[in-house]
């Protein structure tokens, strides 16, 4: 296996708030290699977005604090990186796409200028980025502009050269998300973090955007973290999946293995909450209970209060992560072992 692109080990994150200290991330582990598309799934508030933001070190500290853990990007610990070196990674090596395309573009600046700014920022760390575009004598701004236009074309915006002069509000939501993807890709990142990139979009646009991300992986051998709560998107797009619950990664593995043989009771519950074509009427199951209070979390497994398999052991101590199959790991004392679910 190739060397890991990103390796998160035992990442803890606390947030101080008016009511007390919230333990938001509680020992997150995640390894991403080139060519892999990792789906990170879980209910709202389980810490998946904060994991993504932590990789880019974009969580404001304070109120946040990282008591322990490491995030290694190609072997380098991002937690110990000087701010200016971290900034050099952002946009250049690590690209990010966020959920709401309507609020993530600067409303007062033309699309082209925003793209050019990102391109110039990335090129300041890697001048070769602009080389193959336009002959040098036209100047870096012109080169960056051409690169921006080509990127817009790549993400499927017709008449890109002309659209560079548009303002964000002149674009539809799907178009804006494409612009944001173009911005994230302009520095040719090695790792792309996409936080709910399609949640705010129509289903048809959603499929196009996901295809686009897949083609980026195929063309450039990058690693992707796709944060979503939509298991359908994961099944469609990802090679691997990590299920998070209340600040922990409770199950990881290849997408087929996890979806077909979910071992963690929480993953099973998530799967059971998705309506299938063949789900009998009245059999769709909601998940009882709510996400636990992160300020006073239950001791032991955080899922125990909602789990029908929980025992005294679960309530006392957090279970370590162990393999149930090659590459398929689960953090549970009583993982479900069965050939397959939802098999008709």
């Amino acid at each position: 296996m190739s060397e890991a692109l990103l390796e998160i080990r035992d990442l803890h994150l606390t947030m101080s708030s008016f009511d007390g200290l919230a333990h938001v991330l509680n020992g997150v582990d995640l390894t991403v290699r080139r060519g892999e598309v990792w789906g990170v799934v879980g209910e709202s508030g389980c810490g998946k977005s904060l994991t993504g933001l932590s990789i880019s070190r974009l969580v404001p500290t304070p109120p946040a604090r990282y008591p322990q853990g490491s995030i290694r990007f190609e072997g380098e610990d991002l937690m110990r990186l000087a701010p200016h070196r971290m900034q050099a990674l952002r946009g250049k090596r690590i690209g990010m796409i966020f959920q709401d395309p309507t609020t993530n573009l600067n409303p007062t600046v033309r699309i082209g200028e925003q793209l050019v700014d990102v391109a110039l920022a990335a090129a300041s760390h890697d001048p070769s980025l602009l080389d193959d575009a336009t002959p040098q004598q036209f100047g870096r701004r012109r080169q960056a502009r051409d690169l921006a236009a080509r990127l817009l074309e790549r993400v499927g915006i017709p008449d890109a050269q002309a659209r560079l002069a548009s303002y964000p509000h002149e674009f539809s939501g799907g178009m804006r998300q494409r612009v944001l993807i173009a911005m994230a890709l302009i520095g040719r990142p090695d790792l792309l973090i996409a936080d709910e990139p399609t949640t705010a979009l129509d289903v048809s646009v959603q499929a196009q955007i996901l295809k686009l991300i897949q083609s980026m992986v195929a063309d450039h051998d990058i690693g992707v973290i796709l944060i979503t709560h939509n298991l359908g998107v994961v099944a469609e797009t990802c090679t691997h999946v990590a299920v998070m619950y209340a600040g922990n990664v409770v199950e990881t593995g290849p997408v087929a293995a996890v979806i077909e043989r979910p071992a963690h009771p929480y993953t099973r519950a998530l799967m059971a909450a998705i309506p299938m074509r063949d789900t009998p009427r009245g059999q769709l199951q909601g998940l009882p209970g709510v996400v636990p209070d992160l300020i006073r979390p239950p001791p032991g497994c955080r899922f125990a209060p909602r789990c029908d398999r929980a025992t005294a052991e679960c309530r006392a101590r957090f279970p370590g992560t162990g393999p149930v199959a090659p590459g398929h790991a689960v953090a549970c004392y009583h993982p479900v072992r069965q050939p397959k679910i939802a098999d008709g």
């Binding site: 933001l53 880019s56 974009l58 900034q87 050099a88 990674l89 952002r90 946009g91 250049k92 690209g95 990010m96 966020f98 709401d100 609020t103 993530n104 573009l105 600067n106 409303p107 007062t108 600046v109 700014d117 990102v118 920022a121 990335a122 300041s124 760390h125 303002y167 509000h169 944001l180 911005m183 994230a184 520095g187």
Partner: protein
């Protein structure tokens, strides 16, 4: 956009009628004796009658208003009882002085207030921010005529660095009038000495007038910058590796300023009124001083004229601000 501006200009006509009617109603409430004040204590009954007839003050109010409006169409704002000169001519003399002062004060307030507000937002919840918040409230609370007196006392009377008041010393010939702004006219005529002299006269009134709007614009800018800093697009800009300098100038400052801009328009109107006290302190021969003298002697035509002109300037200034707002913030449609 042209259509938008034209429509707004057409809206000025009802404003003119409204303003003059309001001011005429106020003028009619006058329990005083403007004719007597203007004619002098020793005037005979016949002389007073002649004066009243000359100025049409013996006619019913609606007839006076009709004459006024008819004159307005020709640019005639009536005549001052006190100076016996046409009000329009007086206003043309005094307006440039006021505009020069108000624009200088507004420029100072914006040039200092916007960056200071941005800086304090970036320093949020650190001691320079706290300190600047207290200082800003203090600046807003400072009576500008008291501030003017203090400035005069320190810089004109004790240190003798700056002139006490006025626009130019009497012995200095003003530069050839082009804009009516002495500083600009001096530059246009290439007279550096007069430019410096005019600037030295302008300094203290400008500071006295601009302190309060400066503090308000700073607070406004701080608040909107803090709001903008919480927006998603700022996080995105950081996630995409934009340098901090660019995030501050292009993302935060630009969006925060477009929110602050509307307040600046309102402040223009405030300054037109606030200049009255500053002009009084510094003997600045502008509209405010003119209006004050007219009001004290119950000479209503100049007061109506000044109210009309300031009201129109206020409306036009806001039209300009709205246009600028549209240029900065492309989302605003000219509807």
């Amino acid at each position: 956009m042209l259509q938008f501006i034209l429509r707004r200009i057409l809206l000025l006509i009802p404003v003119i009628f409204g303003l003059t009617i309001i001011m005429f109603v106020i003028a009619r409430l006058l329990p005083g004796d403007p004719v007597g004040l203007a004619a002098g204590a020793n005037a005979t009954q016949a002389e007073r009658q002649a004066l009243a007839t000359e100025f049409g003050l013996d006619r019913p109010i609606w007839a006076q208003y009709g004459t006024y409006v008819a004159g307005l169409a020709r640019g005639d704002l009536g005549r001052s009882l006190l100076t016996r000169r046409p009000v329009a001519q007086d206003i043309a003399t005094y307006l440039p002085a006021t505009l020069e002062l108000v624009l200088a004060a507004l420029a100072l307030a914006v040039i200092l207030g916007v960056p200071l507000g941005l800086l304090t937002a970036l320093w949020r919840n650190r001691w320079p921010d706290y300190l600047s918040q207290v200082v800003a409230i203090g600046a807003i609370s400072m009576p500008r005529f008291f501030l003017g007196l203090l400035l005069q006392l320190v810089f004109a009377m004790w240190l003798m660095w700056l002139p006490l008041g006025g626009r130019l010393p009497i012995i200095v010939f003003p530069p050839h009038k082009v804009t009516g702004f002495l500083t600009i006219d001096a530059l246009l005529s290439g007279n550096g000495t007069i430019f410096v002299t005019a600037l030295r006269h302008l300094a203290m009134p400008t500071i006295a007038l601009s302190l309060s709007p400066l503090a308000t614009i700073m607070r406004m800018m701080r608040a909107s910058a803090i709001e903008v800093m919480g927006q998603d697009y700022v996080t995105t800009a950081r996630a995409l590796g934009l340098p901090r300098r660019k995030i501050v100038t292009k993302v935060i400052a630009r969006n925060a300023f477009s929110a602050t801009l509307t307040v600046i328009g309102l402040y223009f109107g405030w300054l037109l009124g606030g200049t009255v006290l500053v002009e009084t302190v510094f003997d600045w021969p502008g509209l405010g001083l003119y209006a004050t003298k007219a009001i004290v002697s119950q000479d209503m035509m100049p007061v109506i004229g000044v109210a009309l002109v300031s009201g129109l300037i206020f409306v036009v200034a806001n039209l300009l601000i709205d246009t600028a707002y549209g240029l900065i913030n492309p989302k605003v449609r000219y509807a």
